[in-house]
């Protein structure tokens, strides 16, 4: 089942643009199916306990690497989010006029890779598929990117992200050397057994640091986030949607999935550091976003800032905090995709994103303007959007363990967020139209569809966060176990 989901995006290449849309639609339907039918394995003796739709096949037995996929309560949400964003991104790819074929292939490769990475239960496969999704990003920025800076952006992104991935790989190899297998459920099973088979504290500290900083670079952890605004500023719309929305979440996913359960002692050493660094994301990137004149710069900085909430949730190490983190990941994936899609449309129409040159867009582009307003409100964390549900959960969780940082985060981040978001809305949507403002058209006909889907999902999960928490609940056992292991001392 999950295997099919992986195979689909690779095969349809016939009629490129429509092929891409249909293929991602197919994976969206499959993801919805998985989401609806999701029922974790409750057999306590089974090694796949807690997972559903498990598929296993031999791949490289000599190295203990297998093709092992399946979903649990956390990954099923991310898979659904990824499929929604992929579909929307494929719809928004129509702005690409040159070499559509290659673009469609890369987009599908990205989708297939990242969906697979979220489902992989083998650490090597997880890493492998994530790389597969990451590499098209570099090529897409370089070939189809916009602006003077795209080559530099492609270079810098490649170097930063590759370094991050390599650091993480070294950490994963060290885990492998201890457990002699890459099979994640197997490793966790061995840790949960009575005589927990853990690495020594010193090793755990080193591996956790490698994973935290390696994956942190991938996610844009302050102060390693400087690639992000550059990359998103230069990336074509669909790529920015996919990367900011989905692929960036992989680093967080791997932290929750691999680093926390396997390295409880390492987490104890490093999570306090992470807690302070996440303030860097929330405050520093928020302040930078405030000074942006370019809409894309604002969105990318705010998207880096939002990652701070997820890090805060992880650093809190409470069940509620972790739940909140996953919710923010889902919500922010949808929001980032929506925001980049909107700015992509504006760029396509106006050929500029300089907020000083634009204004009064609500009167010319009512549909676009309304959507932007909604996205801005969601970004501020207004109740009714999924982001609010996630962020408030993170705060509830984090308050218990790290009240000081949570307090600073709640006050400062939300205020800063509101300031830059509302400023953007004021400048773009209201106010007088400049005389030399470029002509812009609203989003035509069926092109409205991806925007509606993204916003719909945001609102749906905002009004009914139970849809999310119910699924996460099913993974509560493993998450709570993580928390227990952490508090054991």
């Amino acid at each position: 089942m999950a295997l099919m989901l992986m195979a689909v995006p690779r095969e349809n290449r016939a009629v490129f643009r429509w092929g891409a849309i249909l293929a991602t639609l197919g994976s969206l339907v499959l993801a919805l199916f998985v989401f609806a039918k999701f029922e974790p394995n409750t057999d306590l003796t089974s090694i796949n306990h807690g997972y559903a739709f498990v598929q296993t096949a031999e791949w490289i037995p000599a190295l203990g690497i297998s093709f092992h996929v399946g979903v649990d309560g956390v990954s099923v949400l991310l898979v659904l989010m990824a499929a929604i964003v992929a579909f929307a991104a494929a719809c928004c790819a129509s702005g690409i006029k040159a070499r559509e074929k290659e673009f469609a292939i890369l987009l599908l490769l990205m989708t297939g890779g990242i969906l697979g990475a979220f489902m992989a239960l083998d650490i090597f496969l997880m890493y492998f598929l994530h790389e597969l999704a990451l590499i098209p990003t570099f090529i897409m920025i370089g070939v189809w990117g916009r602006g003077e800076n795209r080559e530099f952006a492609a270079y810098k992104t490649t170097l930063y992200l590759s370094l991050g991935a390599l650091l993480a790989l070294v950490g994963l190899i060290m885990i492998y050397l201890h457990y002699e297998t890459f099979n994640l459920p197997d490793i966790i099973h061995r840790i949960q057994a009575d005589h927990g088979d853990l690495m020594t504290t010193g090793q755990q500290g080193l591996v956790f640091a490698l994973l935290m900083f390696g994956l942190g670079i991938l996610v844009g952890l302050w102060p390693f986030h400087t690639w992000a605004p550059l990359a998103y500023g230069a990336a074509p719309t669909a790529t920015a949607m996919m990367h900011a929305g989905v692929i960036k979440k992989f680093g967080l996913f791997m932290l929750i999935r691999v680093a926390l359960p396997i390295l409880p002692d390492g987490a104890q050493q490093w999570l306090p550091v992470l807690a302070w660094l996440c303030l860097g994301n929330l405050l520093y990137c928020g302040l930078v976003a405030m000074r942006q004149k370019d809409l894309n710069g604002l969105i990318s900085n705010s998207s880096v800032a939002h990652m701070g909430f997820v890090f805060l949730g992880i650093a809190s190490m409470t069940f509620i905090g972790l739940t909140g983190s996953v919710m923010v990941m889902v919500a922010h994936g949808l929001l980032a995709a929506l925001a980049f899609a909107l700015s992509g449309h504006l760029h396509q129409q106006a050929r500029t994103l300089d907020m000083d040159k634009l204004g009064g867009l609500l009167t010319v582009m009512p549909f676009w303007g309304t959507l932007l307003l909604m996205a801005v409100l969601a970004g501020c964390g207004l109740p009714g959007f999924a982001n609010f549900a996630g962020e408030i959960t993170v705060f509830f969780g984090a308050w218990k363990t790290i009240p000081l940082i949570t307090g600073i985060a709640a006050w400062a981040a939300l205020v800063i967020g509101a300031v830059y978001m509302l400023r953007a809305a004021r400048q773009l949507l209201h106010g007088p139209r400049a005389d030399d403002a470029p002509h812009t058209d609203d989003i035509p006909g069926w092109h409205k569809l991806p925007f509606i889907i993204l916003l719909g999902a945001l609102l749906l999960f905002g009004f009914a966060p139970k849809l999310l928490t119910n699924k996460i609940e099913t993974a509560s056992e493993s998450l709570e176990h993580v928390v227990e292991m952490y508090k054991r001392k």
Partner: protein
């Protein structure tokens, strides 16, 4: 000596002689047929090797200087494959050599013969003779384009430095003989184990000099100076052969000398502790190669520096001093074969006669020949170690071997990572030029845009390389098994 044991080597040498003779009666316009025949002959030899398979017990000749075991068979297959690909590549290149026809194919065969012997060398005599056979042939091959000054220059440089390296190596062998009274690897090992070795200092000095000679072959720092010049100057097919064949021969000899003759083991007799020396060498090699390649614009020179760095990565597997490391070297070299031959094939097709291989020749390649663009992109991605290509598996295994929890080389791993990131930078430069390069931006000249038509032999080489990179990357299991079996004979700790 048992002649059936060396039937493959005899076959290849005979093939060379036959081609040379046939060349006398072949008119110039049909010389390419000879290339076809050579490739066919080598394919038959490879088929025979595969059919013969790996014997359960290693077979040695009466004196014990020649051994046919899993390791030898693995490397012989590697060399033959490289030989076939290079011969096919030469066919498309032969009109640019001007002076030569049959000689090129014959010389390729002779160098190949030397490599096959190197794969089986089990005594220092065999080691020296096979190395000399390879190196002397390459002196000639390098300077084959006698109308190009660069080619001659490269040949002379290689000759002088190579001769010096041989002299050092033979001196080392003499010292080893002086203290061990034997040249056969197993006897030396026995002597070391039994503690019979007198004049230990002499022996150690000899070993050091010998290692220097081998380091010259694989172009490891500080014996790397020749590589960029020779890589740039030699005719492109020769460069390809040099990059994979000569280097791999150096590695198989290094493996045998270190593990069979000197019995270097983490917990073995503490006569030689080359791990520290080798790790220093590996780190310096990686750094030198990567840093020099960063600003390089000449493609062949760039790949020359990159190949220095690759030798450094492969050395990581030897530094690890365990079976995994040795197997990783084998896997890495197998992946390297396809990637480097693919890269040099594209370069040889693209370079206009007698001109520099500046990066700008790649401009518009994706329009001129999508197949070459894709192949070169995947080749450099594989060299950079990006999944899902063969190079990734190789680098992954090497890293894994060197990151043992007990290992004392965290700095070595950091250097390797630094090298990988730097390599992404310069390899990415190649990919950038293919897809969005603007040609010679410093002149008014527009890049070529005419479509390139490939000869059949070139298409075959490119397809084999593509297939090799993808299959080894996506399904490395058979290769891993082969490599693990092959290094069993080295009797290493797990």
């Amino acid at each position: 000596m048992n002649l059936t044991l060396i039937s493959l080597e005899i076959g290849v040498a005979l093939l060379g002689v036959l081609v040379l003779l046939a060349g006398l009666w072949t008119p110039p316009n049909r010389q390419h047929l000879l290339g076809f025949c050579t490739a066919l002959g080598l394919t038959i030899v490879l088929a025979l090797l595969v059919k013969q398979g790996v014997a359960v017990d290693p077979i040695t000749d009466s004196s014990g200087g020649f051994v046919l075991d899993g390791l030898a068979v693995f490397f012989k297959a590697l060399f033959l494959l490289a030989g076939i690909l290079v011969t096919l590549l030469t066919m498309g290149f032969s009109n640019r050599l001007r002076t030569a026809g049959a000689e090129v194919y014959a010389l390729n065969c002779f160098a190949l013969c030397g490599m096959l012997f190197a794969a089986s060398a089990n005594s220092f005599v065999m080691l020296f003779v096979s190395i000399e056979l390879i190196t002397i042939t390459f002196y000639v091959l390098t300077s084959l384009q006698s109308h190009r000054l660069r080619s001659l220059e490269a040949g002379v440089k290689y000759l002088i430095l190579g001769a010096a390296a041989s002299a050092i190596m033979v001196f080392g062998i003499a010292l080893i003989y002086g203290s061990a009274h034997t040249l056969q690897f197993n006897f030396i090992a026995n002597g070391l184990a039994a503690g019979h070795m007198k004049q230990l200092l002499l022996f150690q000095l000899g070993a050091l000099l010998l290692l220097a000679g081998l380091a010259f072959k694989i172009a490891a720092v500080p014996f790397q100076v020749w590589a960029p010049d020779v890589y740039q100057g030699a005719p492109t097919p020769v460069t390809a052969f040099l990059a994979i064949g000569s280097k791999a021969a150096g590695f198989v000899l290094l493996l045998r000398v270190l593990y069979t003759a000197f019995q270097v083991q983490p917990d073995g007799p503490r006569l030689l502790e080359p791990a520290a020396l080798l790790s220093l060498m590996a780190a310096a090699t990686i750094l030198f190669g990567s840093l020099c390649a960063l600003r390089q614009r000449n493609l062949k020179r760039l790949l020359g520096y990159a190949s220095i760095a690759s030798a450094g990565y492969a050395l990581l597997g030897i530094v690890a001093l365990n079976e995994r490391g040795a197997a990783a070297v084998l896997v890495y070299l197998a992946g390297y074969l396809f990637a480097i031959v693919a890269a040099f094939t594209v370069i040889s097709i693209l370079t206009p006669d007698d001109e520099d291989e500046d990066l700008s020749i790649l401009a518009e390649l994706h329009q001129r020949s999508p197949m070459m663009a894709v192949t070169l992109t995947l080749a450099v991605a594989s060299l950079a170690g990006i999944p899902p290509l063969a190079g990734f598996i190789g680098k992954f295994l090497l890293l894994r071997a060197v990151i043992e929890p007990t290992a004392t080389f965290p700095w070595l791993v950091s250097v390797a990572l630094l090298g990988v990131v730097a390599s992404l930078y310069y390899y990415f430069g190649i990919i950038r030029e293919i897809f969005w390069g603007t040609g010679q931006w410093w002149t008014e000249k527009k890049p070529e845009s005419a479509r390139i038509k490939l000869a059949d032999s070139q298409v075959v080489v490119l397809l084999i390389c593509l297939l090799g990179m993808l299959v080894l990357g996506l399904y490395p299991q058979p290769l891993l098994e082969l490599a693990t079996d092959a290094v069993q004979v080295l009797k290493l700790a797990n």
